[in-house]
């Protein structure tokens, strides 16, 4: 290893708070060599993003570096003036942001924003800069580069925007690239592509990479070294193999145990959780901050200041734990025995459902057009769901899974086909035209609890209104009693009725969202990515909660997700969608093992290995004839797949695949794809 590129020594960062300064990053030290890949993992509020932004000399309003030093290439940056920082930013260190779409200026073209980044640090004229921008876009595998330069951010897909942001960061030829949750919000297939791309480019030009993420699986796959942050401190650091293979800190152990294990048949659907919650910033805890949640904590030892001293395990494996020398076994909550409820009568039946968005004329009226000529968000979907079944719908964005949910819940009308909800056809009846009983019977849990809870109402009022409207309960006392009961069910204290949504954490808000959905004892709950915006440990708790409530009340679940490991863990049945069509349906055991549809195979491979060839060009919209996946399918039969509709092939157990390949050929591609 060459001389270290980045040396951070004992960094403390504090924010101005209502009651004095709040230290959010403590004793942060980090050494990173050039072309090294380091992953910093932690839950939201652990201080990982604050630490990362500090490397660029940037702190949000009210923040300041209390003590410590940051050296980039041997030069101290904590004392730099504005001009010095300007040279550092985008010059030596560049950043790739979470939510790339909002990191791009909506009113400037992509070309303009790239040229700017290029000219800020390297001399040259505009034409040169534009040429450099174009070649960088080619390197990040954008298809039509010239067209992309003229586009505006709102015309880009999430994956494209992320690649543009990466290109922008690389244009200044930085020595260190900091990536703040670079793939949150991207599909698994896109994520794998983006991650591969960064790795490849970094290797080529010898650039150091610092990943900030709460996604353990991702970090474990791509980083050489990992640091785990908890409550502002790095509690464990070591090589990826050590951290994942021999975690020594109880927090690291618990975090790893939280994730559903892919490839392992689940004995219980419940996930392991870390009890309690991380301490709020500003609360001083003597000694180890994890003590209140730690199964191994020893009073009088762990709550002393000495408990957080760094201990070396072996080589470069460090841990801040008083009991680092003891062999601590991973403690997990024993999974409860559970009785598998048998699916009952059919509650949802979808027959040949199609949804096309009609083009509108100048006065906003739908034009009469031939439906068969339009691209369809849902295309000839037939499906049935039985009572108390957990059905998962998976697929990348644009697969039509959200459109399906929106039609079920009544936010959209179907263009063709029938949707029977509890024996009533609602295909062309939006929510306001449905009877109250049906609205009660079908409720939704949304992806983003922040934007679905009215910020000006208290939690008690939000749930109380749902109780009154959907639960048919009258009288203040009865409503209050029911609200308390619901809060207890979602494991929130009764005092929460008086709080506003912004006072709650993301996980707590999602619990409120769940309590609201269960207010009228619904028969069916549609959950659209209910945990993807949450931290790993919180995800596990929310999933368990949903499963418990489902088991107790016999509610049917339609679960929309792109988290395959989770889907495999909890589902009774899985539907794989692509381009508005169903590709494959079956029990998890059938979906997640061969024989499978080529698209399912690609999805699984992307999720498992993160090694998927990045499509050279942005995927074209699916064709209108034949198999929708034909354009991207590595096993396409030319002259057949893109012309003729794939046949339905089914086993007796209900495993269905729509594909031209024969049953024996499914999954045979495994060996071939591992070669590239």
């Amino acid at each position: 290893m060459s001389a270290p590129l980045l040396v951070v020594d004992n960094l403390h960062i504090a924010y101005r708070g209502d009651a004095g300064d709040v230290t959010v990053v403590k004793n942060f030290s980090l050494t990173l060599g050039s072309s090294e890949t380091y992953g910093l993992v932690g839950e939201s509020g652990s201080g990982k993003s604050t630490a990362a932004f500090a490397l660029l000399g940037y702190l949000a309003e009210g923040g300041r570096i209390v003590s410590g030093s940051i050296k980039v290439n041997g030069a101290e940056i904590t004392t730099l003036d504005e001009e010095g920082l300007r040279h550092l930013r985008g010059g030596d260190i560049a950043m790739v942001y979470q939510e790339p779409a909002s990191a791009l200026n909506p009113v400037l073209t992509i070309g303009r924003q790239l040229v700017e980044a290029r000219l800020a640090h390297r001399p040259g004229n505009k034409a040169q800069a534009l040429a450099d921008a174009a070649s960088m876009l080619t390197k990040v595998r954008i298809g039509d580069v010239q067209a992309m330069l003229r586009r505006y951010p709102h015309q880009l897909s999430g994956g494209q925007a992320q690649r543009v942001v990466i290109a922008m960061a690389l244009l200044a030829e930085p020595k260190l690239l900091v990536l703040d949750e670079p793939t949150t919000g991207l599909d698994a297939t896109v994520e794998a592509g983006v991650v591969d791309l960064i790795g490849e480019l970094a290797q080529k030009i010898g650039m150091g990479l610092l990943y900030i993420s709460h996604n353990l699986a991702l970090v474990g796959r791509i980083c050489e070294r990992v640091g785990v942050m908890y409550a502002g401190r790095v509690v464990e650091e070591g090589s990826t193999r050590d951290i994942f293979g021999r975690p020594r800190h109880p927090y690291t152990q618990a975090l790893i145990a939280c994730r559903p294990v892919a490839g392992e048949a689940a004995t219980s659907r419940r996930l392991t959780v870390i009890p309690g919650q991380p301490p709020a910033p500003g609360i001083h805890i003597e000694g180890c901050a994890f003590v209140p949640r730690c199964p191994h904590a020893v009073p009088g030892r762990c709550d002393q200041a000495a408990a957080i001293a760094v201990k070396t395990i072996a080589g470069k494996h460090f841990v801040r734990c008083a009991r680092a020398d003891d062999e601590l076994s991973v403690v997990t909550a024993a999974p409860e025995a559970e009785t598998q409820s048998l699916p009952g009568r059919e509650v949802i039946r979808i027959e040949h459902l199609s949804k096309a968005y009609l083009p509108r004329n100048a006065f906003g009226l739908a034009r009469r057009v031939d439906l068969t000529q339009l691209p369809k968000a849902n295309d000839d979907i037939s499906l049935s769901v039985r009572q108390s079944e957990i059905l998962s719908v998976v697929g990348e964005s644009g697969s039509g899974k959200s459109t399906l949910a929106r039609i079920l819940i009544g936010l959209e009308e179907a263009s063709e086909g029938r949707v029977l909800l509890l024996d009533q056809d609602v295909a062309r009846r939006r929510a306001w035209r449905r009877p109250r009983s049906l609205l009660r019977a079908l409720q939704m849990v949304f992806q983003n609890p922040d934007s679905t809870l009215n910020p000006s109402h208290k939690v008690g009022a939000i749930i109380g209104r749902a109780v009154k409207r959907l639960g048919q309960i009258q009288g203040r006392q009865a409503i209050t009693a029911r609200v308390d009961e619901l809060l207890a069910q979602v494991q929130l204290p009764q005092s929460f009725t008086g709080k506003y949504p912004h006072e709650l954490s993301g996980g707590q808000r999602q619990r409120v969202g769940i309590a609201r959905a269960f207010a009228g004892n619904p028969d069916i709950i549609i959950a659209d990515e209910p945990v993807s915006a949450l931290d790993v440990s919180v995800q596990a708790a929310i999933v368990n909660l949903l499963l418990d409530m489902q088991r107790e009340s016999g509610t049917t679940f339609v679960f929309i997700s792109h988290d395959l490991a989770l889907v495999r863990h909890i589902s009774d049945r899985v539907v794989v969608m692509f381009g508005g069509r169903i590709m494959e349906t079956g029990r998890p055991a059938e979906i997640f093992a061969p024989p499978y549809h080529p698209y399912t195979e690609a999805l699984l491979q992307a999720a498992r290995e993160g090694r998927r060839k990045v499509p050279a060009f942005d995927p074209a919209p699916p064709p209108r004839t034949g198999c929708r996946y034909a354009g991207r399918c590595p096993r396409r039969i030319d002259g057949l797949c893109e012309i003729k509709e794939p046949p339905r092939q089914a086993t007796q157990g209900g495993h269905v695949i729509f594909c031209h390949l024969s049953w024996e050929q499914f999954g045979a591609a495994q060996t071939f794809s591992e070669g590239d």
Binding site: L56, Y58, E82, R86, H87, L88, R89, G90, G91, A94, M95, Y97, E99, S102, A103, L104, N105, P106, V107, L108, T109, E116, A117, A120, H121, Y152, H154, Q155, V165, M168, A172, A362, F363
Partner: protein
């Protein structure tokens, strides 16, 4: 983009027609009122009935509205100017021309002449005020917005709040005290008559001053809020961490985005300046449209009220159209989406 424009212009025409029908219905709904308004408070009921018949005021409302449209468009003759009716109203242009809004009952003159005389002064006042309001409020708003929490922001924001909350007449009186009573440099009234002691330019100073203070402080606050909000956007952070100079960030990344919300507010100010400046015109005896509308409404001069309200509608719908064009220029989402 052409489609967008055509759609907007189509909506413009529809809005205008709908609003003018409502206006007509409100002012001329009952036929008896129209005739008695024309004849004045001392008319006998038989005279009112006679006039009602002669003007065909008994026809259905929709028919009367269409006839009125015809008169305004110069297709139909205005019966009011007919000497046979004997109202003594006459128009040198004849009874049929485009823009025929009838006669002001208060001034016994064609409405076009009455309004035409005033509108020039109003336009002058508006133009001068806007020429000061826009640069002052934008410059100060941006200066405050890019330095949130700093002294310059505190001073400008606080000053703007105080000035916005002062009613126009208070500001006018204060300026009168300083400029006229104390310094003696400016005239106390601005009737815009030439040849007197005060040149026209000096007559304009106080009315423009009051309008600027009332309006610019409000626009400043909107601009300041929008700029400060834009400064916190992730793409501004991106620009900063790209290593761009602060000046370039503000000029290229902040301003264009931050200008989108204030446009509506600035256009509303133009709206108000062109048709709603009643207090300032009254205080300074300025011969503008606002005070004319007030007088016409108090007198019950229905044709003048109709014309002036229609003018206000035109301005309101017109500024909306201009606003849409500005959004079109600033926001690529509209142009391309």
């Amino acid at each position: 983009m052409i489609r967008f424009l055509l759609r907007r212009i189509g909506q413009f025409i529809i809005t205008f027609l709908a609003a003018s029908f409502l206006l007509f219905a409100v002012t001329e709904f009952s036929p008896g009122t129209v005739a008695s308004k024309i004849l004045g408070p001392y008319a006998v009921s038989s005279q009112v009935d006679l006039l009602t018949e002669k003007l065909h005021l008994g026809d259905p409302l929709l028919l009367r509205y269409l006839r009125w449209l015809g008169i305004v468009a110069g297709v139909v003759e205005n019966p009011l100017g007919d000497p046979a009716i004997g109202l003594g109203l006459s128009d040198p242009r004849g009874n049929r021309y485009v823009g025929n809004f009838g006669y002001s009952l208060m001034l016994k003159e064609p409405v076009v002449d009455v309004v035409g005389e005033r509108i020039g002064y109003t336009a002058l006042l508006t133009l001068l005020a806007i020429l000061v309001i826009i640069p002052v409020s934008l410059a100060a708003g941006v200066a405050a917005g890019v330095n949130p929490g700093r002294p310059i922001d505190r001073v400008l924001s606080m000053g703007a709040v105080i000035l916005t909350s002062l009613p126009e007449f208070v500001v006018a009186v204060a300026l009168l005290l300083v400029g006229v009573v104390w310094l003696g440099l400016l005239p106390g009234t601005s009737p815009m008559t030439q040849g007197g002691r005060w040149p026209l330019s000096l007559q304009l100073v106080l009315p423009v001053g009051v309008l600027v203070i009332a309006s610019a402080s409000y626009v400043l606050r909107i601009v300041r809020a929008s700029v400060a909000d834009t400064m916190r956007k992730p793409y501004v952070r991106t620009a900063l961490l790209k290593g761009l100079k602060r000046r370039d960030i503000i000029l290229h990344h902040v301003l264009r985005n931050a200008m989108i919300p204030p446009i509506t507010v600035i256009l509303l100010q133009i709206n108000w300046l062109l048709t709603g400046v009643v207090v300032v015109e009254s205080i300074f005896a300025y011969p503008g449209v606002g005070s004319l509308l007030l007088q016409a409404a108090l007198f019950g001069d229905i044709y003048l009220v109709q014309a002036l309200t229609l003018l206000a509608l035109l301005v309101a719908v017109g500024t909306q159209l201009i606003g849409d064009l500005c959004y079109l220029a600033l926001d690529p989402k509209i142009k391309l989406g």
